[in-house]
């Protein structure tokens, strides 16, 4: 699957890239903030976007909304470390298909991606 990662923690971003490549996914783009995320999405048009809700520059919810405006069929998986139910609900309302709460491990990640297919 052609996947794009949006995560402000660079280490976690690289970790996810490493892990997903190991199981055969294609990481087409990575972004560390909301604005960069939109540019990378436009350039790479990935099949799946894994995105953290709390992001610098542009909030994750806004990024999801804009991606959905560009492509209504975009598949989006959100990740969050805050235990704010309302924030997850907002992300799902904006068009995210599923979510993962941090800390998730490799198994959770792979299972959730399988479900998105």
């Amino acid at each position: 699957m052609r996947i794009m990662l949006v995560e402000d923690d660079e280490n976690l971003c690289l970790t996810m890239e490493f892990a997903l490549k190991k199981v055969g996914h294609d990481i087409v783009g990575m972004a560390n903030d909301g604005e960069a995320a939109l540019n990378v999405y436009r350039d790479t048009n990935p099949e799946l976007v894994i995105i953290d809700i709390i992001l610098p520059k542009l909030h994750g919810i806004d990024v999801i909304t804009k991606i959905k405006e560009m492509n209504t069929d975009a598949k989006i998986l959100v990740t969050t470390g805050a235990s704010h139910d309302s924030l997850i609900m907002k992300a799902m309302d904006s068009g995210a298909k599923s979510y993962l709460t941090k800390p998730f491990g490799m198994n959770d990640l792979i299972t959730e991606i399988e479900k998105m297919k």
Partner: protein, 797 residues
Amino acid sequence: MKLFPRVFSYVIIFLIIYSISSAAMVSMFSDTVIKEQVYDNLKIASDSKAHHVESLLHEYKVGVESLAAISELSNSVNISRDNDVRISDAYRQVNLSLSVFHAAINIRLIDLNGTTIVSTSRHPGESPVNISTLLSFAMNTTYMGPIHKALHHNISTMSIASPLRVEGTTLGFIVVSFGAEDELFQILTERSGMGDTGETYVVNSDGFMVSPSRFVNDSVLNLEVDTDIITMWHEYIIEDSDSGIPHYEHNPDYDENKVMIYEGYRGVEVLGTHEHIESMNWLLIAELDTSEAFQPVDDMVLFIGITTLIIIITGGVIAFISVRNFTRPILEIHEGMREIEKGNYDHEVQAMSDDEIGELALSLNSMSFRVKVAKKALEEHNRELEAQVMERTRELSERMKGSERFRIATLNMLEDISETKMELENSEKMYSSVVNTSMDGIFIVQSNKVRFVNSSFMKIMEYDEGELIDKDLNDLFHGDIRGFIQDLYDPRGDGDIIPELFETLFLTRSGENVPVEVRTSKMTYEGKDAIINFIKDLRETIKLEVGIADALSQLQQSEKRREEFIDMAAHELRTPLTAIKTYTEMMEEGYMGTFDDEEKEHLEVLGKSIARLNDQITGMLDASKVIAGKLKSEKVLVNMKEITEEIVEQLDPLFHKKNQILKIDVGDINPILATPDLMRNVMMNLISNANKFTPASGHIDIRLFSIEEELHVEVQDDGIGISEENLPNVFERFFIGDRSLTGHQPQLGLGLSVVRVIVEQHNGRIWVESELGKGSTFHFVLPMMKEVTVEMKGGKQ
């Protein structure tokens, strides 16, 4: 709408609808009749002309055939005879025939080679019908040639050829030419009864006119007629395959009697009909311009229109007069009623008609007369009453003279009262000294004027006493509420309407609007009714209220920021944990090379540590929220027995794993008022701690019972226990138990600090009894619902 216009408009509407509908019917009917007549005339004209032409042509044909039968002429082509004799015989006979046959202008005899043997023309030239046509069409029958121009005369002619037979064999032909102008065209150009634009003309199968047009010069064989009627006719001309002569074949859909309207060859709309002339394959057409044909229809429509208009106008005038006559008595009665309404009973209604309306007028007149009589009687009665009243009044004044001595006695009493009044004035002075030193502003109002003020009131209003006394009450108040205040203090009104306590705005000398609280009370001031007002300046109070509101809003702001910070912190902590967890799982799953059993055990420890760290973060977050009162949601009736059993069931696998013996003992307890989730949190912490800090095959006892309307919960274990020095710190935040004894990191800390906050928020208390190495007992107590209250809540009544 008034009566007259309403009735009149109904009549007019009826009249208009009736006249217009009958006019429309008449015009439709006459339109049909007139058109039918015009069509019939045209049809008759074309019919008779066609018949005429047909019989003329037949006459020509029979004439030529009879000539062909004369032996002198047929012998002229009989080569077996003496040449000179047969020619001279033929010549004589031909000239004789020509003089008899008026219409013929030339007769010639032709042999089978096309050679003219005899001709009546002085310049015989070529035959008007060439030999090949003759051989094709005239060998056995008479051939009717088309109209053509004579060679030397430019005269329209037509030639008829017939075979000359000798003993049954055709040896030559007789060709007779006829001038068309003399007879044929005479028939067609005879136009009596055709009006100014009517004509009849003939068209050949090529579409050319073969008769003179009424409107175009030199039309014969020059004018092509291409109108709809010709197009239609052409569709029914079928070439005869045997003879090659076009002929007309009747089609059942083609109605010869039909009269059509179409654009004529002059470009003018015409009404036309046609007849087919079979012997020549011609079409005879009779036409009349529609403008002329339908003139009678237009005239008729105009006539009907004018007639209708006249009917409406005269009908309207008649309706106006009769409706006015009809409604006049009613209007008169209406007028009479109005007069009676005004009280004019002398008015007499003049509506004298001999119908129901007349009767109504009579009854009205009689009624008004009766009212007049009754009214007079009433006036008489009133006068009598007045006289009686005057008599009584006079009697009363007689009696009043007798009461004069009572008045004198009263004056004496009043003197006594003035002495009492002196004493009263003294007490009033004392009273005013109290009033003047009061912190509240005080003023007295009498008849809407200020009659008394104290010094505090002067201070509020920034006026001297002299300026305030006799000031209008309204001038004390803020402009917007003056009218309202006047009503409040209205001395004529009932005293009870003055509110005893209200807030308002006073207008001070400097123009400031001062918010005040006013208390009013009725009193007597200097012997008259008055209102005393106690004024409290609210300026300081309001300042204080605003300050509190600001502080509260700041507090809420900072509370919100704190929550956001906690959420952010949890997020920041969990993000790196995710990376660690992912790597660990990758190693466990074998994505990072293979590990031996010992290394795998280490990995397991790593996994557990991550889980524990996340629990710590969650615990910290929950603790912060509890401490911030975040989880303080609505309290409901909670059954602690159910919650305990629920938690024990959840933790069952853990007890099983360590083979611990668990005992639950529930006494006679009532529900408590609490937040269910928080109670679960408390029980989860206490029971899972007991599980963690009790070795395998240990005992855990849970007891729920009540003492003096309080719920007691005890969780006892025979585990590691807590040392005496640590005991006071167990419920402190971030307390970590004695590591050296347990051999692994204990899980007290955050959990128990949260438990304590929850219990205390529910107005309860918590404590622990423990001895190192022998076990611990955690106690907590919560207020319990009374039995009666429970029943009330349960709605059992």
